[in-house]
Point group: C2
Chain length 427, copies 2
């Protein structure tokens, strides 16, 4: 008889909706403290918006169909193409640089599993039209600030930070042609999960010297300071290493600013991180639990070429994304989500004879920002009202006797001009 929800989707009963909104509100507040402004885009879009530039993986996971007007349409699987359009189509009238965020619902038809659903929420934050490395630092600092706002500490998570420019420099140095760089990085992205032989084989298949390249790559991935990195590149590339100097300087500026923010203990230089998506052009980072238990909590990077690829003027961009599912799991594991507690500021128990005055006060108190509750039956004795209230867990317990004092305290605190407190009882 009953029609169940679809696999990978969620119902939000009040206690779950409270947790979702708690996460959203923290994200929103921290983004606003960093002076980002919120935007949103349609959930349903022309299909081609998502097939043109998104990776094949996303295209294979679309919820797409033909609408009643014959349009090929799809549910939004990610925010980037839509925000690229919003920014790109109005770039000349918007005041730049732009610091934008959205908290949006996305849809992907993948196998539902821990940390992955077919409908999920994502915080998406970007700075557009600011090339300076301090924009990159701002994004990383914001990601950390958001996680800290929930009570997570440097003992709980760290940012693994890497640079696509240095990856490209390294691979160019090994004569990897431009058109193979994305393929090699995709192999690098999987090194942690595959055997040495598998990786070598895959590199060989690209007509590269797999064994030699993999040795360099794995050493590169162990570098934890810019100074070590510099020495390593000097050793391999001799004089031509200087082409990397600019990137090394930028990395130093980035790490210095994060240190000035007080965030050094949160950040690890780690070239294991390359990020799957082809469009990153500089900084890339992912945030993981130190325990390594969960999927990435957050990720992001710089993508200065993407808006141009959508046909708009070239516009620098750096951003991050945080999904709600993994974050929610991590916070729940650590008991960092407050308990849903819908008890009212005031629960009114009143003599039925005084209903008129009591209800006048109730409406006014609500208008003054109090949450006020009472039993929605007529003519119940005060005793029965108490029992109903306690049975429905609207009140924790009956304090007895002190009601008017409690009322006056609350009312004085909020400057409410009380008229009729003598007829009210409160818990």
């Amino acid at each position: 008889m009953s029609i169940e929800i679809l696999p990978g989707f969620r119902e939000f009963y009040p206690e779950i909706c409270f947790e979702r909104n708690f996460i959203f509100e923290k994200m929103r507040q921290v983004c606003q403290n960093f002076c980002f402004t919120e935007y949103d885009s349609p959930i349903l879009e022309p299909l081609e918006l998502f097939t043109e530039k998104s990776g094949e993986e996303i295209a294979a996971q679309l919820f797409n169909f033909v609408d009643r007007g014959g349009r090929a349409v799809a549910l939004r699987p990610e925010m980037t193409p839509a925000v690229a359009r919003m920014i790109g189509s109005k770039i000349h009238t918007l005041k730049r640089p732009l610091k934008w965020f959205s908290i949006e619902e996305n849809f992907r038809y993948e196998r539902p599993q821990k940390g992955r659903l077919r409908s999920f929420y994502q915080l998406n934050v970007d700075i557009f039209d600011e090339k300076n490395i301090y924009a990159d630092a701002e994004i990383v600092a914001l990601a950390i600030a958001i996680l800290r706002s929930f009570g997570l500490t440097a003992d709980d998570f760290h940012v693994r930070l890497s640079d696509r420019n240095l990856w490209t420099f390294l691979l160019h140095g090994f004569a990897v042609p431009e058109n193979l760089i994305a393929s090699v990085l995709s192999i690098v992205d999987k090194i942690e999960r595959e055997s040495r032989d598998e990786s070598i084989q895959k590199l060989n298949a690209l007509n590269l010297d797999g064994a030699r390249l993999l040795e360099t790559i794995t050493t590169f991935q162990t570098m934890r300071t810019v100074d070590d990195l510099e020495k390593f590149l000097q050793t391999i590339f001799k004089n031509s290493y200087k082409e990397a100097a600019l990137h090394l300087d930028q990395l130093r500026l980035l790490l210095a600013r994060l240190k000035h923010f007080g965030l050094a203990s949160f950040v690890t230089l780690d070239f294991s991180i390359v990020r799957g998506l082809a469009y990153y052009t500089g900084l890339v980072f992912e945030i993981f639990e130190r325990s390594g238990k969960s999927r990435a909590l957050a990720g992001g990077g710089r993508y200065d070429d993407l808006i141009e690829k959508f046909g708009y003027p070239k516009t620098a961009a750096v951003g991050l994304a945080i999904g709600d599912v993994t974050l929610g799991n991590v916070l729940a594991d650590r008991h960092l989500i407050p308990t849903f507690d819908p008890i009212a500021d005031l629960f009114m128990i009143f003599d039925p004879q005084s209903e008129a005055i009591a209800m006048g006060d109730a409406y006014d108190l609500r208008g003054h920002g109090f949450s006020v509750n009472y039993v929605l039956k007529d003519g119940l004795s005060m005793d029965k009202q108490f029992k109903q209230a306690i049975r429905a867990h609207w009140v924790a317990q009956y304090t007895g006797g002190q009601e008017n004092i409690i009322l006056r305290d609350i009312v004085q605190r909020k400057d409410y001009p009380i008229r009729h407190s003598e007829i009210l009882s409160f818990l």
Copy 2:
């Protein structure tokens, strides 16, 4: 080159997103003051959830398709079937009565026009498992409180309130058979927009005495007090009018409670209102601008049979809905939406030599709830930082000289332990 959004959908640039969120936050706050708790349901559902019990009009407007797993699915056109499932399937474990609200996005494929879009937001509020008429009063009072929270007054809007029970009594009295009641009410719903002759013709077509019935109906619709209504029913039905006495008493209780809330001036008894949907069983109401310019701002009523129709235990229900489009238009016309003003609490202009200390303070201040902004370039002189900030409208004007005083004021207000104010300048 660019891929446009679909007709009837909206992009939310920051100033528009701000207006949307402003409306949502007011709705949420007032619902919480009335002790309703928020819930949500999936945007995508099995198709049959919306074809089983929704009206034909809604079924004809669905965004529906077959997903990659071969399931017939649809975007949510309304909240009621999903909330009926949520309530119905857990009715025995939920603490009742339930006071629930959602602020959800719905989708209907209809012709986009003023006040109607294909994607719209709606506040949906319901009380479940409370038959008492005071639950009806609570819903009407909440609708009024929400509109008042935006600054609308009794001069701007009124609630037109009617009762399906009395409609049914009246039609039964004229020997309209049970199976025609919905058809007659659907004709009544259009009386204001059609000619007298058209209405009579339609009633005749149902084998009813159209002219006589319409005369009674139009007189019934002019009743503005319960006393007048009682006299009118007495005159027509003589002794058998007493079957209506219970409904008249209930209506008196409802109006009395609204009066006690202080809301008499907002409410008009008006039997022109019947509401299109077949499932209402008691109170029905709609809220209109007094000017009569716009579509209904809100509407609702009691629907005690619907949850049972979905196959769950019979559960009393009374609720309301407020859409964002008409409300947004009405508020915009009256300049009741505040201007989007993204200026930061503090804009930092600092000597590049002091970058490290300035950034340490910036991060800490943000952590203490201040919104802090600064130019994301390295090494800019203070003069150039000012110019950039003003050019980008991050700051309204340079106050000059008083910066540290402003900082101390703000910091003392929020108990921030200031360390380095001597190096900061603020606007």
